[in-house]
């Protein structure tokens, strides 16, 4: 994350297809050179549309997109110098791998020798030297993905866009390719805008993640902030898993708020987007932060719950509980000597530290933008 902020800027970008509903409502984002930014969200949330507007395949309804301070909205896609990895790779089936990689350089009228050298360099970079003269149809999914990646990088574009590039691969290959993309990103230092609906992918790869929902960026932050301090209930729910306890705000300080839960317990949580006394709120706690009282002593918040069932996952065990008002709670406990044995319907106290929980909006309330 270099010093010159705003290498790429989206300023109040809006997009509508039918002149009635906005697919993207007021998108603002500043990206530094070399940054790896992920647009994460459910399908139909507007993330791919933003990518297409940046690539020049969709018009911007209103707002501006600037690269290096220069407006790009009136530049045709073939003059934007932005690399792109397509969802289905979009390799040219009638060209060999070598011809596919050489294509952007040929268009840029580079001398033949320079093209050959560059193609060889990038073939080596993605470890496909032996496949140079094959056709895309003769390669496996992972190999095609690597060709697509090399083709998007070979002409040294300012920005590389990736539209769910790993969606078509199986889990193992996907993890391998995540690593590969990260390696190339660190090695070559290009700027990436990555679109995915896979939160694990987003968390492991990105410098920052912009979480989209209904055409609005819900939160844009580094992965650990997004996970540990979600700005609203949608983010808390979409990224990872959350236990949600409903209550009402009783008191507000600088950093924290006091919440009276619906079963009567008083707990403290980090201040987020619910800050008014009397306001209904949802206290969200990650399942791995919620734990058994004996492990935390009396330092944190406590809530009484009834044990329902447990699932043996392998590296950890999931315990399911229900509070008096029926809210379901999940505890993830490492599968070690600390894992307790519980009887069905046994009532125990669960605890967590105030700084590990957020007071977020209640789903009934409209989502503040």
């Amino acid at each position: 994350m270099a010093g010159d902020k705003a290498f790429l800027q989206f300023i109040q970008v809006k997009k509508t297809y039918d002149h009635r509903t906005l697919v993207v409502k007021d998108f603002n984002l500043e990206v530094a050179k070399g940054e790896f930014i992920t647009l994460l969200g459910p399908s139909g949330s507007g993330k791919t549309t933003c990518l297409m507007m940046l690539a020049g395949f969709e018009d911007v309804t209103s707002g501006e997109i600037l690269i290096n301070g220069r407006q790009v909205t009136s530049i045709p896609p073939y003059e934007r110098n932005i690399g792109m990895v397509f969802q289905q790779y979009a390799l040219f089936p009638h060209m060999t791998i070598r011809e596919n990689l050489a294509y952007p350089l040929k268009i840029r009228k580079q001398p033949r020798q320079a093209i050959n050298a560059k193609v060889n360099e990038y073939l080596a970079l993605v470890e496909l030297q032996d496949f140079a003269n094959r056709y895309p149809g003769q390669l496996s999914g992972g190999q095609r993905q690597r060709v697509a990646l090399a083709r998007a990088l070979i002409f040294a574009p300012d920005i590389v866009l990736m539209d769910e590039p790993l969606g078509a691969l199986d889990k193992k290959l996907r993890e391998q390719m995540q690593f590969e993309i990260k390696r190339l990103h660190e090695q070559l230092g290009f700027t990436v805008i990555y679109v995915t609906h896979d939160q694990t992918e987003a968390l492991t790869m990105s410098d920052r993640i912009a979480v989209f929902n209904q055409g609005i960026v819900q939160q844009c932050a580094p992965p650990h902030v997004l996970y540990e301090r979600p700005a609203n209930l949608f983010v808390a729910d979409f990224i990872g898993e959350s236990n949600k306890l409903s209550g009402r705000i009783e008191a507000v300080d600088d950093q924290e708020v006091s919440v009276r839960l619906s079963d009567g317990a008083l707990v403290r949580a980090r201040k987020a987007n619910c800050t008014q006394v009397g306001q209904p709120t949802t206290v969200s706690v990650r399942p791995e932060k919620l734990t058994f009282t004996d492990r935390l002593g009396n330092a944190g918040n406590q809530v009484r719950a009834r044990f329902l069932t447990s699932h043996y996952v392998g590296e950890y065990i999931r315990y399911h509980f229900a509070t008096a008002d029926g809210t379901e709670l999940v505890v993830k406990n490492m599968n070690d000597s600390s894992a307790p044995r519980l009887e069905p319907q046994q009532e125990i106290s669960l605890a967590w530290l105030p700084q590990d929980s957020q007071a977020l909006d209640r789903p009934e309330a409209p989502t503040p933008s």
Partner: protein, 284 residues
């Protein structure tokens, strides 16, 4: 190959045999009138029937004189030249127009695409005599009747639907993200068309062109209306040959036409196989 299911009884076996026999008879019925022309064209006598010498396979009964006549008679030579000139230019015109139309009509956002498609395909559906008569009156107003450009344009209009159909077929399921990829890599839309779309639809373009050529090559109705004496094509010359000078040189020309058609059909089949291979090659 000829395996009959073991549970077939006598009558079923007999039925199957009759079906096979019937099928062969139908095939023979279709092909015989064409095949019979070939030996007759080698007749050494100016008759349209098998002479005794031919039936007894006497070498003198056969000759190439009618072929010689075709290639020396200035009327036939003009007709052959005309057929190729008109056929080739009409094919070029219909291939360019038909390919452009098909590529445009394949786009979902194209307004009125069904209507326009129907309009462009209408020469295939409207009776030829009506098209021909309409063309004659329309082209006369522009002084195009009885000229090479007039005949070429008329034949191009007849050939274009074939190109549209074959190119549209190759565009079914075309992956337009390939075009986006080309644009993204820096190709202008025109360059993307020639580098990416064209190589992938080429089999359709070529087979459409062959169909357009055959259409022009075989066409006689429009020629009867539109062509002056200078634009007589092979079919037109055969037509008048039947009425004026009855001799087997028509049969020699017919044999040559059959050979041309077979050559074109074989080319089409080879192209189709190639297209199938290309279609299988890209994944998914």
């Amino acid at each position: 190959m000829n395996s009959t299911p073991a549970y077939y009884g006598f009558w079923q076996r007999l039925g199957r045999l009759l079906l096979k026999l019937g099928s062969w008879l139908v095939l023979l019925f279709l092909i015989l009138p064409i095949l019979v022309i070939v030996p007759l064209s080698f007749n050494s006598e100016p008759f349209f029937s098998f002479t005794e010498g031919m039936l007894t396979l006497q070498p003198e009964a056969y000759s190439l004189r009618w072929y010689q006549e075709v290639f020396t008679d200035p009327r036939w030579i003009l007709a052959i030249k005309n057929s190729f000139i008109i056929g080739i230019f009409a094919t070029l015109l219909s291939t360019v127009l038909g390919t452009c139309a098909a590529v445009g009509l394949a786009r979902e956002e194209m307004p009125l695409r069904r209507f326009i498609t129907a309009l462009l395909l209408s020469p295939m559906i409207v009776p030829l005599i009506i098209t021909a008569a309409g063309m004659f009156f329309f082209y006369s107003d522009f002084g195009l009747a009885g000229t090479y450009p007039g005949v070429i344009i008329a034949h191009a209009a007849l050939g274009t639907p074939f190109v549209i159909i074959t190119v549209t077929a190759t565009l079914v399921g075309f992956d337009y993200s390939l075009v986006r990829a080309a644009l993204n890599l820096g190709a202008t839309p025109l360059r993307a068309f020639f580098d990416v779309i064209m190589p992938l639809i080429r089999p359709g373009v070529i087979s459409g062109a062959l169909f357009a050529f055959i259409t022009s090559f075989d066409e006689v109705v429009v020629i009867l209306f539109m062509a002056g004496p200078q634009q007589r094509t092979i079919p037109r010359q055969m037509f008048s040959g039947l009425r004026e000078q009855i001799n087997p040189s028509i049969l020699a020309v017919a044999t040559l036409l059959i050979l041309t058609s077979i050559a074109l059909l074989v080319t089409l089949e080879l192209l189709r196989r190639r297209a199938e291979r290309l279609r299988l090659a890209p994944a998914e």
